[in-house]
Symmetry: C2
Subunit: 205 residues, 2 copies
């Protein structure tokens, strides 16, 4: 039985134990988890490596997250919700352009690398897969659905437009470049997706 | 110095050393590599595990491929070239449907799982990434380009159709379902991709 090893005592316990956790410290730990995952992948990620990257003790991490799976799921959830634009410019094409540019920028940073590192694990880690889809895929899908719904109310959508497929393809187009082809995920590409694909498929003539 | 360990002597050397290698044996070894990769991923794949799966000696494998990277690249190359339909039915919609159904079936088997396991490694393994793109992505892209070119000669393509984007999206749509969303990669989905997306984007009115 091991009690109070050095690893578990580097931070003195606060007398106010009900106090909310330090949110900026949590963010720094999530950022470290993301960077380690981007570098070595999910399987090779260790709590030790995250602790070292964040210059924290391992106990600090285990006090917040029970396991590496917990940490990674919470990291995906928090970062996905913080980083997606939800434009409402009054124009379908402009909303699509603004959202997809923000999603492309988001994917081009460490979260995109971390997401790529997770993809190979999804078939083997059902809990991780569920969380990954919930945060990473469904959050961008819901922003796109909102954009199309508002455009529909403004009369900017053609009758019988394939809305579900269009939303799916927008995500697919960006993630395929990010993870598979390695071709640039930049503004000219987003412009082509919007002007050559999405607007022709759903926009009113 | 190690000479003729048991691992290196399980197959007697043939007196006809210039004889071509046994192609069906090579295929069985590649199939084993694919299955192991689908299960454990590229990083955790070992020549030992492939040998055990194929009930071969490790020497048999090292005689054919210098390294795990060699084996995996050769496996992708061979399997990609063997499994893609190249339909030429005289109808754009039918060619697209037939090719994408064959690609979906191909992706739904062990090669899709193996490809998914490789995706997380692509940023860290440039040689593997180049081979993966060359075999897995470019071979399907080239079939689609051929289908669109023949359709164009028959007058089935609208003027100024976004051919490059359409080819990219067809691959993206299937691989996004396979690797990211986990939604079914079946005939109804292929029909929707062809009828709701590809034909409206490129087909003559």
């Amino acid at each position: 039985m091991i009690l109070a090893t050095p690893a578990y005592s580097e931070e003195p316990r606060s007398p106010q134990r009900g106090r909310p956790r330090d949110a900026s410290r949590d963010d720094a730990l999530r950022q470290a988890a993301l960077e380690v995952m981007a570098e070595v992948g999910y399987r090779a990620l260790t709590m030790d490596a995250v602790a070292a990257r964040a210059r924290a003790g391992k106990a600090t991490i285990y006090r917040r997250w029970e396991s590496k799976l917990d940490l990674v799921i919470d990291t995906c959830t928090q970062l996905a919700s913080q980083n997606l634009a939800t434009p409402d410019t009054g124009s379908l094409a402009e909303d699509l352009r603004e959202f997809l540019n923000s999603f492309a920028a988001f994917l081009s940073g460490p979260i995109g690398k971390a997401a790529q590192a997770l993809v190979g694990e999804l078939p083997h880690e059902p809990e991780l897969a569920a969380a990954f889809r919930e945060t990473f895929l469904i959050s961008q899908r819901d922003v796109l659905r909102g954009i199309l719904e508002r455009a529909s109310e403004r009369g900017e959508i053609r009758p019988h437009a394939p809305l579900g497929m269009t939303v799916e393809l927008a995500g697919a187009a960006l993630i395929y470049r990010l993870m598979l082809t390695g071709d640039p995920l930049d503004r000219p590409f987003v412009d082509r997706v919007v002007d050559q694909v999405l607007m022709p498929l759903v926009g009113a003539q």
